[in-house]
Structure formats: C-alpha cells, structure tokens
C-alpha cells in the first residue's frame, strides 16, 4: 500500500493510469493476485453492501435495546416528502442508519473501514449510483479509490477508534467516501484527495465514547454525519475548493490529535457520552442483566 496520497497522485500522473488503477495494481503486486481476481473480490464487497441495505429489518432492535428502527423513521418522513434535507440526503441518512443498525444487531455488513463506521460508504455510494445511474464496474472502481485513501490513512495514522478516536473511524470512512464520490462524479485525482482532506478536517478531534462500550450509542447516528459530510466535501472539492493544508498533512494531524486524546476518549467507554449520568445509568442497567 502507498504511504502517501502524494505518491499515488505522482504515479497516476506519470503512468497516465487512473487513481483507482494505481491502487489496485500495487495491491495485486503485494498480494500476488491477478487484476481480475482482485476486481471480482472488490465487486463482491459492493454487492455485500447492497445486500445489507436491502435486508434491513425495520423492526429489529439490538440486544441492549439501545438501537434499532431509526432507519424506518427517516424513511417514513422522507416518503411523506417532509425532510428538510431533501430526497438525496434523506436517502443517504436513511441508508446510513439502516446499515449501522444492522451491524449493531449482529447482521452481515462490510467493515469499511471498520464495523462501527460501516454505514457511511454504502449509504453514499448506493445512493449516488442511483442518482447518477452508474454501472457496477464503476462502483467497484470507486471502492478502490476509497480503499487507496483508507490505506494511506492506515499507514500514516490509524483506522481504529482505540488508537485514534472516532475521527479515525467515522472520519476515515467519510474521507474515503468523499474521494470515491469525486471519482464517480468525474472529478480529477487531485480533487479526490482534496475531498478526502476536507472530509477528514471536518471530523478531526471526534472522540470515541461509546455508551457501555457498545458499537451503538453514538456510533449508529455518527454514521449519518460521516455520510452527509462525504457528499458536502465532495461537492466542495468538485467546485474547486482546496484544503489549505495538504491532504497527507491533514492525515498526520489526525494521528497527532489521536495521540493527544486521553484514553477515556478512545473506545474505552469511560469518557464523553459514556460518562454522562445517562450513559452511566445505561451501563449499570446492563450490568444488572
């Protein structure tokens, strides 16, 4: 995997290959697999995302009872034409909740990059596919774009809430998805990395403070913010807006912020929302059961 977005851009420029192809070729070399095998495997990831979305059970609740049915609530309001954020964003919200709730209820999902942030990418990509009427091949290429960005984040910083807080999970998912959306909209490779930088900057500092240590509160609803932020960041980049801080340096900043966070805010379930009176009461209720 590449250690910087700059490097992917340089290889892409030098070879004339698109960003996604540069990412794919490097992985095929490293893993010693053919481009066809790799592509089919990535296509399966996209199909699995779609399957989770379609299999959503609107009545389902997690074992703790903290999570479930919210995707259905947004759907109802969207179908009634009452959502202020409009139909496209409404569908993105709905889908982010659907997949994230399914995860909390022990259903099959695609960790992208993590299980806790699994709603961001499918919510945006499935909706943009319908909106722009794109084929599955192109969606698969978009997943490579996202994975390339995620790979750089994994190498330079972290994708784990325990190491970097929620910015490393929802922030990374949002950055990866923003780059993929720019690709799907026909933007340049440079705009993809700019969108990733803008998305990540918007979520820097986000703590990982799950109530009772479960991937439920606030994780499920944070998937919505990651998804919506990916689209607005892609739109900004496509409009020509650039991050004043270069994308690789934004990733480095995420790492240093993660290091500066106290352990209470890194997936231990001991700080932030988890430590509120209600968060503590929920934990104590669960201990009794």
């Amino acid at each position: 995997m590449y250690g910087s977005l700059e490097e992917i851009l340089a290889v892409s420029k030098q070879s004339g290959l698109p960003f996604w192809k540069v990412v794919q070729l490097e992985d095929c070399r490293e893993e010693d697999i053919t481009e066809e095998t790799s592509f089919e495997k990535m296509r399966e990831m996209y199909r699995a995302m779609r399957d989770t979305d379609q299999a959503y059970d609107p009545a389902l609740q997690s074992a703790s009872g903290l999570v479930g049915t919210d995707g259905a609530k947004v759907r109802e309001r969207r179908l009634a034409g009452k959502l202020l954020s409009g139909d496209l964003m409404g569908l993105v919200m709905e889908r982010a909740l659907r997949t994230a709730e399914s995860n909390a209820c022990m259903k099959r999902i695609v960790a992208a990059p993590t299980a806790g942030s699994c709603g961001v990418m499918p919510a945006v990509l499935l909706t943009i596919q319908e909106h722009l009427q794109l084929g599955e091949e192109r969606m698969t290429e978009a997943l490579y774009t996202a994975a390339g960005i995620g790979g750089v984040i994994a190498l330079r910083a972290s994708l784990s809430g325990a190491e970097g807080g929620c910015q490393a999970e929802i922030g990374s998912a949002s950055a990866m998805t923003a780059g993929a959306v720019v690709y799907l909209s026909g933007g340049s490779a440079s705009q993809m990395t700019q969108a990733a930088a803008l998305a990540l900057k918007g979520l820097l500092g986000l703590a990982c403070d799950p109530v009772a240590g479960l991937v439920e509160v606030p994780c499920v609803k944070r998937n919505v913010i990651g998804a919506v932020n990916a689209i607005t960041s892609a739109d900004m980049a496509l409009a020509g807006i650039r991050s004043r801080i270069p994308p690789d340096q934004v990733i480095d900043a995420m790492k240093s912020i993660g290091h500066a966070m106290s352990p209470e805010l890194r997936e231990t379930g001991k700080g932030g929302l988890a430590a509120t009176p209600e968060g503590t009461a929920i934990l104590n209720r669960m201990k009794r059961h």
């Binding site: 790799s38 022990m106 099959r108 999902i109 994994a154 325990a162 991937v215 231990t268």
Partner: protein, 225 residues
C-alpha cells in the same frame, strides 16, 4: 495489510475486534486442535470481559470453534449449534495481567480424541488477531500465514533441522521467532511461512530427539490437504 482489510471484510457485526476477531480466534484454535472440539472453557479478560456480551464476543468465539467464518449469519445462534454438535462450553473471567492486550481470552480446549490445548489469544484491532501463548509458552503469530510452532529443548541444532527441512520442501519463511524459558530449558520457535508445510514433514519433526511438541496452523480448510 491489504486493500480488503480496508474495504472489508464482510462480517457479522457489531465489532471487528470484539466479534470478527473473536470468531477468528476460535477458528485458529479449532485448526490448532486439528480435530473437533468437545469441551471449551473460555476465560475472558479486560474489555472482552467488560463488553463482550453486548458485542456477542462469547457467541463469536464459539462460532469460530465450530468452524463458522466471520461472515456467517449463524454466528448469533452459535450456542445452540454448539449444543447440537455436542460441544460443551463454559465461560469465565481471567485476569491475564497488565501486559495482556485488553481484548484477550484464554481457552482450555479438549478434542474428540482427548487431545488438550491451552491458548491465550488477543484481538488486536480491525479483525486482526494474535495467538500469544500455546500451552503456557510464548507463540506470537497472526494466523494470516501457515505457521509452524516447535517446542524443543534449548540445545544446538534444532533451528537448523527445522529450517533445512523447510528449504528441502521449498517452503519460504516469512518470519521467525525464538523464545526460551531459560538457558538449556524449554524453547519454542514460531515460523510463519509463505507455503503450506507437508503433513509428513510435521510428523518427521515430531519424532526428532529433543523436540517436545509440534503444532501446525494451516490455512487450508478442514480435510483439505
């Protein structure tokens, strides 16, 4: 790390470390046993103990011991499946010390032939795992490659015996670690390989003088050899 660890894996939720990693620990233990598990005592440590129930860690480890993969939608039902398969399961807690990873577990396993195995494993994030100890001795490996674990007396020549056998079988070594309890005491070598080690070579190693135990972790599915 590869691209399909960034976008992927396909898994049953809710947590890559507490659910998918736990399935994988169970899976690796099953393969290390190389026979069906009939009794499992599973002691959870740290965050596995504190939040394991809400994350389905208990059911995930049992699913792994049954041979279910991380994306198998039957994982939530694994306790019933274990009971159907005649596997006795018992849970408890363990304090594995400050040095242990927060997501650690200690397993005591017995197989259908009476074979016993004790494993300490940790889920280290993103669904990746580490087998930390086997039968009380350090055994630091990931389960991503075929892995040969040789327990032997700490005396000259055993490393050469093992590595020349691997050379002879055209097996390349990806990583190699050596540990010992004390000078001249018990030693262990852990070799992660790029290719599978043939069964007959493992049997050959088992009969060498000074070799106490050979454990092999294969990436092949059960029965596929």
């Amino acid at each position: 790390m590869n691209l399909f660890e960034i976008v992927g894996p396909v898994m049953v939720g809710p947590s890559s470390s507490h659910t998918a990693g736990a399935v994988k620990i169970g899976n690796v233990c099953r393969k290390l046993m190389s026979e069906p598990v009939t009794d499992a005592r599973i002691l959870l440590h740290g965050s596995f103990l504190a939040t394991g129930r809400g994350h389905g860690t208990d059911r995930a480890i049992v699913a792994g011991l049954l041979g279910l993969q991380v994306d198998d939608s039957r994982i939530p039902d694994s306790m019933r499946l274990a009971s159907d398969a005649g596997m006795k399961v018992e849970f408890g807690s363990a304090d594995l010390g400050e040095e242990a990873h927060p997501n650690s577990v200690k397993l005591y396993l017995r197989g259908s032939s009476g074979k016993e195995l004790e494993v300490v494993a940790a889920s280290i994030g993103g669904g990746r795992i580490r087998i930390c100890e086997i039968d009380g001795l350090t055994a630091n490996f990931s389960g991503d490659c075929p892995t040969l674990i040789v327990h032997n007396l700490d005396q000259p020549g055993h490393v050469a015996e093992v590595t020349s056998m691997l050379q002879h079988k055209s097996v390349n070594i990806a990583s190699m670690q050596l540990y010992r309890s004390s000078r001249g005491g018990h030693a262990v070598m852990v070799l992660e390989c790029d290719q599978e080690v043939p069964r007959e070579s493992i049997h050959w190693l088992e009969h060498l003088e000074g070799v106490e135990k050979v454990t092999y972790y294969s990436l092949l599915q059960d029965g596929e050899c």
